[in-house]
Symmetry: C2
Subunit: 218 residues, 2 copies
DNA sequence: TGTACATCAGTGAACGCGCGTTCACTGATGTAC
DNA sequence: TGTACATCAGTGAACGCGCGTTCACTGATGTAC
């Protein structure tokens, strides 16, 4: 019982997690680029200098937060794309999953929405990288659907990007509409947007041509 | 010549503008919530205390920046929605306008993208309010198009929101892809997304029913 | 036009405060024998 | 199992620095007569 080799290691992990949790909470009302090291350690109840045992800087902690926040998003997206049923059922189910995720991890959602275009380059890049992987995964799921027969890989990815942006945008709007009528309104609009994109998807090949669609670059 | 009643007033306006310009430039590498009053006055070359002759706080300056940044966006969106021609032409023209705007006012675009979900509530709310007005305006333009015959007002607005989000997202991507091949790639993807949304729009009534469409709330 | 007074954008000293980072340290946990 | 030494997460004092805000001020611009 007393011989587990990791008492010290476990305590360290616990403190590290406390730092991440405290930072996430403090970030509700500010951006990462103004979060202070002393502010975070004060919230945890340790000396400022102990921070350096876990992270080199607040920026470094921010990158760790990206992994944590998007790690929790990953299974949610997996479940969403794995949902079966017709279009309407899938849309309703996806919106329930998004709303549930926002309620379960509001600080994670806020952090990603805020820092995706935020002032800290390395964090922005970490988010961008992770979202790229999500988009690729959504794209793979979309490609398996018979509706995508004849689609170029590029077109599948542009559709995946559209869906990922829509999900993120909706999650962000849910944040500010915690419950009740306001949330219903957000859900209704999001459902219709997904429906419209779905209709565009179904009619894509009729209009945009086959594997080598027309170009319209700027 | 020497009797214009506003020499003092003109000088004040000039200093105020210098403060806005300096802040915008300093915000390239950080968020508003970490921008310092002394940092801004130092960049302008005036005493820190002079700041208070123009703004009550950095937050206040941020709200003024929202008006300036979205004020410059307004005519651009007006022109975009007023463009004539078929779908492909309109998409290409819209993307040219967006790219041109990003090149002309990169700091404005960055500011809006960053602070739209940023850490300063009043600024976030100011952006949200302005974007709501844009969306309404785009909605009015869309409603005039024969394609929108039979659409409910709610549906027109949800489509307008989709377009506004797409434009903003594309502008933000253009920022990080200043020119050349990278920008071409962003433009290609954005053009296809607009095309897909357009196809969804044209087929909306066939699938979603008439004025009282089906519901799919979460 | 000239004079006397009012306004007010910008100054500069001063303040108390919290910041990030350094350093030598302590004492519980881990390891070798 | 017991002992002697190594590791290292967390401490606490100290540092120099830039911050936002106050205050009484200066001197050019504006106004009244």
């Amino acid at each position: 019982m007393s011989h587990i080799p990791g008492v010290r290691q476990a305590q360290k992990a616990k403190t590290r997690q406390a730092l991440l949790d405290a930072a996430l909470e403090l970030l509700e009302g500010q951006s990462l680029s103004s979060l202070g090291l002393r502010e975070v350690t004060r919230a945890v109840g340790i000396a400022p200098t102990a921070f350096y045992r876990h992270f080199r800087s607040i920026e470094d902690l921010g990158v760790a937060l990206v992994e944590e926040a998007l790690g929790s998003l990953h299974p949610m997206i997996r479940t969403t794309v794995a949902t079966t049923g017709d279009g309407e059922e899938r849309i309703a189910r996806a919106l329930e999953l998004i709303a549930g995720h926002v309620d379960a991890y509001p600080a994670h959602v806020r952090f990603i929405a805020r820092e995706r275009h935020g002032g800290v380059r390395s964090v922005r890049e970490a988010i961008h990288g992770e979202l790229g992987r999500f988009t690729a995964e959504v794209g793979e799921a979309l490609a398996k659907d018979p509706v995508s027969a004849g689609w170029s890989e590029e077109d599948v990815l542009m559709l995946a990007q559209l869906y990922v942006d829509l999900m993120l945008g909706t999650a962000s709007l849910f944040l500010e509409a915690p419950a009740g009528e306001a949330r219903e309104r957000v859900a209704r609009v999001a459902a219709r947007q997904m429906r419209l994109v779905g209709i565009g998807r179904e009619n894509w090949l009729d209009r945009a041509g086959g594997a080598g669609a027309a170009d319209g670059g700027a």
